[in-house]
């Protein structure tokens, strides 16, 4: 591991890559602060730039810097405006906004920054320990297991989608998989489902799809709902210091929530949102008497808990991506797409074939956390000024960057028509409460899944691989349980609510 760390240090600590980290963190914070633009949209917008860098390590360093910065920026707008830009920072606003209302905005931002830093750093250390171990196990996997593993991953994403959402999430996953089959197929180069349209020959572009699913609906929603872009953060941010007592109070919270957040982040589909809500709930239950009453009215513990949990979960979500090549969240799915575009295939072999990429990313996470702490803390009062840009200027620019991102990748105006078309569909889907991340994850995993499926089918001359490889069977059973269990429990809860006896 030491060897790897040194390798990563050598790769990450070059002037260019350091610049990428700083740039990523600053851009991420700036854009992440804007209400309505989450890390997924920002990373999607940044991908064309990252790809044109050409070096996979630098590109990934830039993108993970953007990711961390976006999460941090999201907490800033949660605290100052009570307008979380990201679902993962909703829990931050529970206690962060009351603190800001009491005139302690500076203190709240400091606590958020420190908690994020600690969460991110502890998460990265855990990632460093667990990723190599997991990828050595993953090397034993065959294509059959990979196929099964992807089924498990996709089912888990659906299963964690929330009550009553499992069916919808599954539907979106299948839609994504179906969209992944458009274009020239994996096994034979036969064009499939192109309906004779030349532009579909190479399939849908994943950047276009990512923009259409996340950036466009958010921007359109900003237009439709002016209240969302309300800006009243003109107030001064002063007194960034926290006292020694306060530091002592939040230290155990940060420690606990970093570890818990990391492990929740590892689970596919759970991610930063669940980690932050769960972290908040756990700390509220652990707190005693007066401290517990303070939750929701500006408790520093209630602020530190979700902040450290969501950052640790971000590190955790890199585990399945880097070791198995299976993204567990929309954001890591976008990162996977970017990596594939740079001809790096994440997976267990990444550590062996391209250890410099692997370790450079891990080192850059440390650096990114450090940069966020050092750079953003003193600059926050100035950075927060971006919240005062009038929306009639902001929104056309967001839309323009979205269009540009998909245009410069392909240099084809038809791509823009596809983008707008899917963007409108995605907006309608959002209105009907359909989750969109599963669609993108399905789309990206679709090709890989079919490849592995085809290889397993060819090796075993048919579906026998399911029975002949116990591990595959076990994984597929697990996937089935993951899908069925939530709907079974929802059904039972419904029956109980309706007053029907609970079976015997």
């Amino acid at each position: 591991m030491i060897e790897g760390l040194l390798l990563g240090l050598a790769a990450a600590v070059t002037p260019f890559n350091l610049m990428m980290v700083v740039m990523g963190c600053v851009i991420g914070t700036l854009i992440g602060m804007l209400p309505g633009l989450g890390p997924m949209s920002i990373i999607a917008i940044m991908i064309p730039i990252a790809i044109s860098i050409g070096d996979p390590a630098s590109a990934l360093i830039l993108l993970s810097g953007v990711y961390y910065g976006a999460i941090f920026g999201g907490s800033t707008s949660s605290i100052l405006l009570n307008a979380p830009g990201v679902a993962g920072t909703v829990a931050t606003s529970f206690d962060g906004y009351p603190m800001a209302r009491k005139g302690m905005a500076g203190k709240a931002l400091t606590i958020a920054a420190i908690a994020s830093f600690a969460g991110g750093t502890i998460g990265t250390i855990l990632l460093m320990i667990f990723a190599p171990a997991l990828s050595s196990v993953a090397l034993l996997f065959h294509s059959a297991e990979y196929f099964a593993l992807m089924v498990v991953g996709l089912s888990a994403i659906a299963a964690f989608a929330g009550t009553g959402q499992v069916g919808k999430a599954l539907m979106m996953t299948i839609l994504g998989l179906m969209m992944g089959t458009v274009g020239e197929g994996a096994l034979s180069n036969m064009p499939r489902f192109t309906f004779g349209i030349m532009e579909l020959q190479s399939g849908f572009s994943f950047i276009t799809l990512a923009m259409a699913m996340f950036a466009l609906p958010e921007a359109l929603f900003l237009v439709m709902n002016p209240a969302r872009a309300a800006t009243d953060a003109g107030g001064k941010i002063t007194n960034l210091r926290i006292s020694r007592d306060e530091a002592r109070t939040i230290a155990p919270v940060i420690g606990r929530q970093s570890i818990q957040g990391f492990f929740i982040g590892v689970l596919p589909g759970a991610g930063a949102t669940i980690a932050s809500f769960l972290g908040y709930a756990v700390e509220r239950n652990l707190a005693k008497g007066k401290e517990q009453e303070e939750f929701g009215h500006g408790s520093i513990k209630g602020l530190a808990a979700p902040e450290s949990a969501n950052n640790a979960a971000c590190s955790g979500s890199f585990v399945p991506l880097l070791t198995l090549g299976i993204p567990g969240s929309g954001t890591t799915a976008i990162l996977l797409g970017a990596l594939l575009a740079l001809s790096v295939t994440p997976g267990p072999r990444l550590m062996i074939d391209e250890p410099d990429v692997f370790w450079a990313v891990i080192i850059s996470m440390y650096i990114g956390n450090l940069v966020l702490l050092m750079l953003n803390l003193p600059l926050i009062p100035y950075i927060a000024k971006i919240l005062t840009i009038p929306r009639q200027y902001l929104i056309p620019f967001i839309l323009f960057f979205t269009l540009m991102g998909s245009y410069i990748g392909q240099n084809n105006p038809t791509e823009l028509l596809i983008l707008v078309g899917f963007g409108v569909i995605a907006t309608i889907l959002r209105f009907a409460d359909y989750p969109l991340a599963p669609l993108l994850i399905g789309f990206i995993l679709g090709t890989m899944m079919e490849d592995n499926f085809a290889r397993a089918m060819q090796l075993y001359r048919g579906f026998d691989f399911i029975i002949e490889r116990p591990m595959t069977l076990a994984l597929l059973v697990l996937a089935a349980i993951l899908v069925v269990l939530p709907s079974y429990r929802a059904r039972r809860a419904r029956l109980r609510a309706a007053g029907v006896a609970d079976g015997d």
Binding site: V90, T163, K168, M171, M224, L416, R430, A490
Partner: protein
Amino acid sequence: MALDRWIALAFITLCCVYGYAAFFTMDDSLPPILRRNPIWPSTFPKMLAVAGIIVGLMVLFGPKTRKADNPAKAADGTMDITKLREYQIVPALALVVLMLAYAMTLRPLGFLGSTTLFLMLGAMILGERKLYVLIPIAGLAAWSIWYLVQEVLGIFLRPWPAFMA
């Protein structure tokens, strides 16, 4: 019928079309040598079509979902169909049309022209009227983005209208 069920219905229709292509038309062009393979290009799509129809039916006839169950969803700022009337639909639609127009004019008008127009009209749709601020900002932004993309990133973007090239 609620919007989400209409979408489920549309999805099932899509699966039927997709499945029809996978089951009946796709294999016709498959060369005989590939027919001896245990897996055909249509195998995976067939599975997806069947799974899609099943899941679609589940959502179509499934129980009504309660929104408040999800803490993340209950938070302010999520899209809510019940508030559709309060939302400003017209500017949003106008912006969609503007984006389509941008896509169509990008080649004929050139990057600088159509981008400047896009940024200006976009701001005007959202209620900005100060043209003396708007024109310089839009022009400058279009030029600096063009400079970044073309000169720094090295991706060709045609700056001027087609007839001037």
